[in-house]
Amino acid sequence: MKKIYNAVCFILLISLLVQCYTARSIVDLGNKTAKAGSSVTGEILKCYALMGNQAFVDQRQQEMIRLLSYPDPRRVMLPAIRVRQLKSLPAKINAFTSLQTVYKSFETLTDGTDKDASRDAMTSLLNSYFTIKKLPDLPHAAQQILPGATSEFTVATQANKVKEQNEVLGKLSAAYLEIWKKDLPVWKEYIDRIYLDYAKAVYALPESRFDPQAIKKLVNQPVNTKYQIIFYKDKVQQDAKQQIATINDELDQTTYAFETLIQSHQAVTQRPVSVSAVSAMLNSINSTLGAIKK
C-alpha cells in the first residue's frame, strides 16, 4: 500500500515539475518574442531613417546635376536646391518609436526583474495605441485590427499572462504592419525617382562635362574617350539600379521579419503552444535581421 502511495506521489511530483517547466518555457517564449519585437521595430525605425536620409542624397545629386546642366556654370548659385523630406515621415517615426517602447517594456515585464514593469507596460501600450489611432492617414485595415477597447490591456500587462500579452501585441503590431505595407509602394516609387532621375540626368550630360583622365580611371576599357564616357554613363545607371535593389531588399526583408513577428505572437496564443515552432520563427527573424545588418 505504501509503495502505491509513493508511486502516486512520484507521478504527481513529475507532473507538477513538467507543468512548471512548460509554464516557465512559455514565459521565456513571451520574453523572447518581446525581444524579437524590439529588434524588428529597431530595424523598421532604421528603414524610416534611411528614407529620411534619401532626401539629402537627392538634394546632393540634383544639385550636382543642376550645376552640370547649365551651359554657363559661373551663374549658378549654390545651394540651388533645398532638402525636401517626405511629409508623413515624422508622424510615422513617432508611432513606430512608441511601438518599440511597448516591446521594450514587455521585455522587462516578462523577465520579472522590475516591480514597476506592469505599470510601464500599460503606459507604453496606451501611448502606442493612441499614437497610431491619431495618425491622419491610418489605413482602414489597421482601424479594424486595433483592439476595440483598452480594457484588454489590463490583463495583458500582468507578468504571467503570456497568452493575453501576445494577443494584444499581435493585434497592435498587425495594425502597425498595415501602415508599413501602405508606405512600401510609396517608398519604392520615391527611391526609383531619386536614383533613376540622377542616372538619367548624368546620361543626358554633354561629353564636355567629363574629365577624360578621371573617366579613364573609373572605366577600365581599351577604347577612346568618347566610348569611355558612354561606359561611365552606363556604369552610373547600373550603380543606381543596384542601389535601388539594395534598398528594396532591405525593405522586403524587414517586411518578412515584421510579418513573422506577428505570426509568432499568434503561435504563442495557441494552446498547446508549440515551443519549437515559435522558436523557429524567432530564429528566422534573428537571421533575417542579421543578414540585413551585413
Binding site: Q62, R66, S69, Y70, P71, D72, R75, I81, R84, L86, K87, S88, P136, D137, V186, E189, Y190, D192, R193, L196, D197, K200, A201, A204, L205, P206
Partner: protein, 110 residues
C-alpha cells in the same frame, strides 16, 4: 485611377530626364541662364509635387479632387507625349506649367 495618374506623372518626369539636355539648350538659346533656371525650377517643382502626391492620402470621393486628378492625368499624358516628340519645346514647357498648376491645386485641397 489615382495610381495610374501617379504613374503617368512619374513617366512625365522620366521623359524630361531623357531629353533634359535638349530642353536646357533650347532654354539657354532663348533666354540664357535665367530661362535655364526657370526651366529647372519647374522640373524640381514637378518632382517635389510628385513626391508630395504619392505621400498623401487622396479622398477620391471628393468630386473636386476627382476632377483635378482627371485633369492631372490628361496633362501628364500630354506632357510625356510632347516631351518625347521634341518638335515644340515651347508647348512642352507650357504643358509643364499646366501640369504643375493642377497638381498644386490637388495638393492644396488635400
Amino acid at each position: 485611377m489615382e495610381e495610374v495618374t501617379k504613374e503617368r506623372l512619374s513617366k512625365a518626369i522620366e521623359c524630361f530626364d531623357n531629353h533634359r539636355a535638349v530642353f536646357i539648350q533650347y532654354a539657354y538659346r532663348h533666354g540664357g541662364n535665367r530661362a535655364v533656371s526657370s526651366l529647372l525650377d519647374k522640373y524640381d517643382a514637378l518632382r517635389y509635387s510628385f513626391f508630395d502626391l504619392i505621400d498623401t492620402e487622396l479622398d477620391m470621393t471628393n468630386p473636386q479632387l476627382a476632377q483635378l486628378m482627371t485633369e492631372a492625368d490628361a496633362d501628364a499624358v500630354n506632357l510625356s507625349a510632347s516631351i518625347d516628340n521634341l518638335n515644340q519645346i515651347n508647348t512642352s514647357i507650357a504643358l509643364l506649367d499646366k501640369t504643375l498648376n493642377v497638381v498644386g491645386q490637388i495638393l492644396a485641397i488635400v
